[in-house]
């Protein structure tokens, strides 16, 4: 499975994370669900669905955290029979990002958590500080989403 990125600075930390954590699928996105990098997808339509759901879960968890007096939940973990999902946020000079990782039984949540910490630190170090990402406006969202998917899937 190939790794594709919208912004080149994300490529090396992502490839390293995928290899270390033995991740099957990784999506790096903004909290609005705009995909910046991915590993493991062959079709744009699958990626769009996963990114939208991941961003929605993070938003819901954030709202829930607010209700119970937490600033945020650091990470969410869902265990399945064959796959687990790890969903966590990290901050960079380019703004807040959400990372969704799907992993199989050949690795563990402990390893994913461990290497996610390194991945987040590597992303912070690699992020260009000169141009923080602005808020995504509703009128731009569709165009930015289309442009991201075109870059990721070469269309």
């Amino acid at each position: 499975m190939s790794t594709t990125v919208v912004e080149q600075w994300t490529a090396e930390p992502l490839e390293h994370y995928v290899a270390q954590a033995s991740a099957r699928i990784v999506v790096v996105m903004t909290p609005a669900g705009q995909v910046l990098a991915q590993h493991g997808f062959g079709r744009a339509v699958d990626l769009m669905g996963v990114a939208a759901l991941g961003a929605a879960i993070m938003a819901s968890a954030g709202a829930l955290a607010d209700l119970v007096g937490e600033r945020t939940f650091a990470a969410l973990f869902h265990a399945g029979q064959r796959h687990g999902i790890h969903l966590a946020g990290c901050s960079t000079a380019r703004g807040a990002l959400v990372v969704l990782t799907v992993f199989g039984r050949d690795t563990s949540i402990g390893l994913v958590e461990l290497f996610f910490g390194e991945f987040a630190a590597a992303r912070r170090a690699a992020a260009p500080a000169d141009s923080a990402r602005g808020p995504i406006l509703a009128e731009n969202f569709e165009a930015e989403l289309g442009a991201s998917l075109a870059t990721l899937f070469g269309r």
């Binding site: 265990a79 690795t107 563990s108 949540i109 402990g110 390893l111 958590e113 461990l114």
Partner: protein, 117 residues
């Protein structure tokens, strides 16, 4: 934390050269309970020890050696000891090089029994 497990870890870290002992969830690689020296990263030890145990178990299975009862990784700067415990747990010990592995193993087996209670 179970009192019996806590006491088992206390006995383990009293063995000369032991730098830390943990109960780890074998499938998840997460710490269940730990007693470590200050500069030991329990999260990393748990994740990597569980991964190692899984791989050794796979190798033993392929080789027809059966279920792994004890694993010792002897490295230049330290020793990692792992033994399975009931309830899907592992007992993991991080120690100095050239530890008395026999004594340590005895305490680890006792610790594994403590997880049953």
């Amino acid at each position: 934390m179970s009192g019996a497990m806590e006491r088992a870890l206390e006995r383990l870290v009293r063995v000369r050269g032991v730098r830390g002992a943990l109960f780890v969830a074998a499938d998840d690689g997460l710490v269940v309970t730990q007693l470590l020296m200050e500069n030991v990263d329990g999260k990393a030890v748990a994740a990597l020890a569980a991964s190692l145990a899984r791989k050794i178990g796979g190798a033993a299975g392929v080789a027809g050696a059966g279920k792994v009862r004890f694993a010792e990784l002897d490295a230049s700067e330290g020793t990692l000891l792992v033994t399975p415990a009931p309830e899907g747990l592992l007992v993991v010990v991080l120690a100095e090089p050239r530890i008395n592995a026999g004594l340590c193993r005895l305490e680890m087996v006792r610790a594994a029994e403590a997880a049953r209670t």
